[in-house]
């Protein structure tokens, strides 16, 4: 279970990076990328996925 970021739509604002409770998001090359192994979909930490809740572009931070 993991979320992913659709690179072509990402504005590179980086809000997801510092909201992620699992330190799973990093800026790589042109876009922010969610590491599958680290992503917990915020289970146990928050009710909603932080990255998807803060992302300013609709349908850009979505279930992988």
């Amino acid at each position: 279970m993991s979320f992913k970021i659709i690179a072509s739509q990402c504005t590179q604002c980086g809000a997801c990076e510092f909201e992620c409770p699992s330190d799973a998001i990093e800026f790589k090359g042109e876009s922010y990328v969610i590491e599958r192994d680290k992503c917990t979909e915020c289970e146990g930490a928050f009710d909603t996925q932080q990255c998807a809740s803060v992302c300013p572009v609709p349908k850009t931070c979505v279930p992988a």
């Binding site: 739509q9 504005t11 590179q12 604002c13 980086g14 809000a15 510092f18 909201e19 928050f46 009710d47 909603t48 932080q50 809740s53 803060v54 300013p56 572009v57």
Partner: protein, 493 residues
């Protein structure tokens, strides 16, 4: 040393920098205005000291001092219907638009490069895209680095206010003395039409609940800033039929909570920008509607009328933007701060401003004494320094002044396309300029050709270059006197 990226001649107000400095050195105490104050009469001296170099907080300062914005904090916690986060274009001039996002280290390099070349630089702002209080780590890192290298640059931020209450103590610790909060409503019902969602306390809120939380946080943040004596400017976007009437209420609320200045600015809306308002056909107010609203707000929280809604990476005097001269690829990798130009410029300005203030008081005194009920709307072509010093064909904007028995007040600006490019006047451009100058009685400029002058006259607008290089107020009062047939003031240099 590398060649200056921007020539000083282009940046200084009336003449070349060296000439200005020479005038300053030689003038000594011979100036008739020596010893008079450079402070406007109606301002508390303590407040004046804090805003006199800040072009966004003082209309008077914006003739002399420059700001620069660095886009270091792109993350945002509020979605506004007038903002599209995807947008990025070097030709666009409006808030939130930026061509390159910077890391705090890159921002420091850019600030030093600008400070070395633009002596007018007095303010560093973080004004989007994103929210400086929400993307706080980057804001803080940038300010700490810059304050270490250039301690006398004023630091300021713009924020939507949602995360502001969490940052007020640290802002005060870092000597951030000027904060701008964008407040578009004090009624969540109105807010729900402007903000589709906010992100707060680890969750997304929508609708009236989102607007209510934002409103409460904005008021709390403003009160906390006022309690610490930090000067706060409120920006409100005028959205016709959504919040235009409501801004009268907003003005009352923010005045009660200690706001220093209220800046109502027109919604910029175009389908090509891809914003919600742009795509749904929500229009912005026209110049007449904006001025009518500003006039109704007079007497409440003090209004800012000289805002140009600049880009989030703007550099230079307000109304000008040399940001494209200072993109990262044009800045050397190693830069060392050299304070000499900024220091010399400050000396010149202190002298020039005393002189300007004296001329201004005299001009305003003349108007009040004339005792006529008439008012006159004057458009001025200026390159800065508070003087009539730009050619009609070179002006990218006209500053609008109203002369009446109450005095001479700056009431706004009108942006135009340059009429004269490469030595030739463009017919179509002139028509657009004449339209933009609707309602203006007289145009003042340093130089104007017969052809545009005649066409302006046909449209009922007189234009003259007779007051070229005078102080704006001196020129306006002389015009006013001429209109009324009373003895004009001798123009002072």
């Amino acid at each position: 040393m590398p060649a200056p990226i921007v020539s000083l001649e282009a940046l200084t107000s009336t003449t070349t920098f060296d000439q200005l400095l020479a005038t300053e050195k030689s003038a000594g105490c011979t100036s008739p205005s020596c010893g008079s104050s450079e402070k406007p009469d109606d301002l508390d001296p303590v407040v004046w000291e804090r805003i006199k170099d800040h072009p966004c907080f003082s209309e008077e300062a914006h003739h002399y001092f420059a700001r620069m914005h660095v886009a270091v904090a792109p993350a945002c916690n509020v979605q506004c219907n007038y903002c599209n986060r995807k947008y990025d274009c070097a030709n666009e001039s409006r808030p939130g638009v930026v061509s390159e996002k910077l890391t705090p280290d890159q921002a420091l390099r850019k600030v030093i490069a600008v400070a070395n070349e633009v002596p007018q630089l007095s303010v560093l702002g973080i004004a989007g895209p994103g929210d400086a209080c929400y993307d706080w780590k980057k804001t803080k890192a940038t300010f700490e680095r810059v304050a270490r290298e250039i301690p006398d640059v004023k630091l300021c931020i713009s924020t939507n206010g949602l995360a502001l209450p969490d940052r007020v103590a640290e802002l005060a610790d870092m000597n951030v003395d000027h904060v701008t909060i964008t407040i578009n409503m004090v009624d969540p019902e109105v807010g729900a039409k402007i903000y589709p969602w906010i992100f707060h306390g680890h969750r997304r809120y929508t609708g009236i609940e989102a607007a209510r939380i934002l409103h409460e946080r904005q008021m709390l943040g403003l009160e906390m800033l006022s309690a610490r004596g930090i000067l706060t400017k409120i920006n409100s976007v005028v959205i016709p039929a959504v919040n235009d009437e409501h801004l009268i209420e907003v003005n009352k609320w923010v005045k009660e909570r200690g706001a220093f200045l209220h800046n109502v600015m027109p919604l910029i809306s175009d389908p090509a920008h891809g914003t919600h308002y742009g795509l749904t056909g929500q229009r912005g107010p026209n110049a007449t509607e904006l001025k009518a609203l500003q006039d109704r707000l007079e007497g409440g929280a003090k209004l800012m009328r000289h805002c140009r809604q600049c880009r989030a990476d703007a550099v230079g005097l307000i109304g000008e933007d040399d940001g494209q001269e200072f993109t990262l690829d044009r800045i050397p990798t190693e830069v060392t701060y050299d304070a000499s130009k900024r220091e010399a410029y400050r000396e010149v300005v202190a002298h020039e401003r005393r002189d300007h203030m004296a001329a201004r008081s005299k001009a305003i005194g003349m108007l009040k004494a004339a005792g006529s009920g008439r008012s006159l709307l004057v458009a001025v072509a200026t390159k800065g320094g508070g003087r009539v010093n730009d050619h009609f064909g070179h002006a990218k904007e006209f500053q609008i002044y109203e002369a009446s028995p109450r005095g001479i007040t700056f009431v706004g600006h009108r942006k135009v396309e340059q009429y004269c490019l490469g030595g030739w006047g463009e017919k179509a451009t002139l028509a657009a300029i004449i339209a933009a100058l609707g309602g203006i009685d007289i145009v003042l400029c340093a130089k104007i050709g017969d052809c545009p002058k005649d066409q302006l006259a046909d449209a009922g607008i007189r234009a003259t270059d007779a007051y070229g290089h005078d102080y704006i107020e001196t020129a306006v009062s002389a015009l006013y006197a001429a209109e009324l047939g009373v003895q004009p003031l001798a123009a002072t240099a």
